[in-house]
Assembly symmetry: C2
Homo-oligomer: 309 residues x 2
Amino acid sequence: MEQVSFPPLSSVVICGGTHGNEMTGVYLVREMQKQKVDKVGSVSINAVMSNPRAVEACTRYTETDLNRCFTDALLSSPITDSTPYEVRRAQELNAQLGPKGSNKAVDMLIDLHNTTSNMGLCLIFDSIDYVTLHIFKYLQSKIPSVPVRSLLLEKPPSEAYSLDSVGKHSFSIEVGPQPNGVVRADIFNIVKEAVDHTIGFLQEFNRGGTFEGGEVEAFTVVKSVDYPRDPMTGEITAAIHPQLQDNDFKLLKRGDPMFLSFTGETVKYEGEELYPLFVNECAYYEKKIAFHLAQKLTHKFPSIRVKKD
Amino acid sequence: MEQVSFPPLSSVVICGGTHGNEMTGVYLVREMQKQKVDKVGSVSINAVMSNPRAVEACTRYTETDLNRCFTDALLSSPITDSTPYEVRRAQELNAQLGPKGSNKAVDMLIDLHNTTSNMGLCLIFDSIDYVTLHIFKYLQSKIPSVPVRSLLLEKPPSEAYSLDSVGKHSFSIEVGPQPNGVVRADIFNIVKEAVDHTIGFLQEFNRGGTFEGGEVEAFTVVKSVDYPRDPMTGEITAAIHPQLQDNDFKLLKRGDPMFLSFTGETVKYEGEELYPLFVNECAYYEKKIAFHLAQKLTHKFPSIRVKKD
């Protein structure tokens, strides 16, 4: 693959509190705002609290999930009295950090999330972007203390619904396990490291360094599995099986235990071999997702460097 | 110590959802209600969802913490338009399961809770009661898979604020770590075991078995420690130190790391040697408690048996 060049990556925005009860981002953004760091070398830095009302209430969202509001359709929907707070806020953020898809958009947007699942440090990409694939590989080499993995959503830009899709280049960071409403120092430090190393990458890139091509593995969700539910009440009737709990990214094979019902029966997995992820994520109960199942794909990418004017 | 006898323990009530986002009790009570078990041997069994509105909203409480509403003062306070839902509900529960301190009260009340802290299986007693100390010892012998510990609050009955204080004999069960809003099968099974063994104990007791005296260790809270906070905003400026996180019940010594600030400084513990518990419990952020510090005391108890009429 030939070398690809990109314009300088001069601005980065770190968002936290997109979900108001995911505390790593909330505290990291507060700390960055307090320290008033607005420039490191060639990179301007801005820390943004995405959903201050949800942060105040220590809840995921107040009216609708902010991180599902960044589709072209919602960003251009007219504001009326019945527009949920989070849709208004999405339009504000899009005006401030975007507009999405425009030349004015921030060069790099990183959105910080936590999960109750044992996901380690997971970067989430809306689509293949050579810059972020390079950053992913860079973080894997710089952060040996925790598994660094990636999840590729493959959404076309107009349908990409997450806040990070507003940036020219972007990713979300999901780190766990951490309960909602709780901040753990170990998780905080991992995320701070990831942010600092990303800023380090941008400096090296802008200085004109060449990043060699290569390949990375990324997971792509194939399907989602719901909990067994009572057909009358809709209530769940089983929990994730102890042998699946905390085993995100460990290949699930036919016959492996999947659920343990509250009356003690094991439900086994009967499908094709796939990788479970977001196993027992708190916020997915309401979305009727017990876990996702993903395949692992290898993505090659070329060497990259900054474009000379 | 001489043998002490008690009237038969003929009725037990299992409460869950006292905090609506602590899911083990919610699902165990639902399951018990579904199975309509109302009698096992000599013991009548009733499962009660304590705070259905909070369960519906998957939140700890809707207006005020139900598990602080069972003082004599609140139970006898007049109901007005401004009375919080949970105070009304406490009075309903007291009428249904008590009244507290009366002869009509249920013989045994067990209230099921979860914590985000690494507390294992912890029984909480309002005061010394030979029956519940025996049950504690019985559960320690029956459940070897997890540490079984106890916490003694030593509240006079009129000031005991928790739901379980309505029973003639009672305890709360705190089990963790489990995030709020999440049900883990391992934790569910431990709590189910504890409930089943307690009912087993009651059967043996009612049959006339003698339970030999002995001694147990129980923790008693000496003081609580808050997070370091910004004097202007009140926001916390540090997380529990990784060396203290998940180390509930491990003696904290002078000089041990206690907090790690978001700027990277370690705050050390400087007090007397005590046992930390409820370390990084989610619901205690608003109560300004990072962890409790407790001493471990030994309590002797006599042999007990059922009183013959």
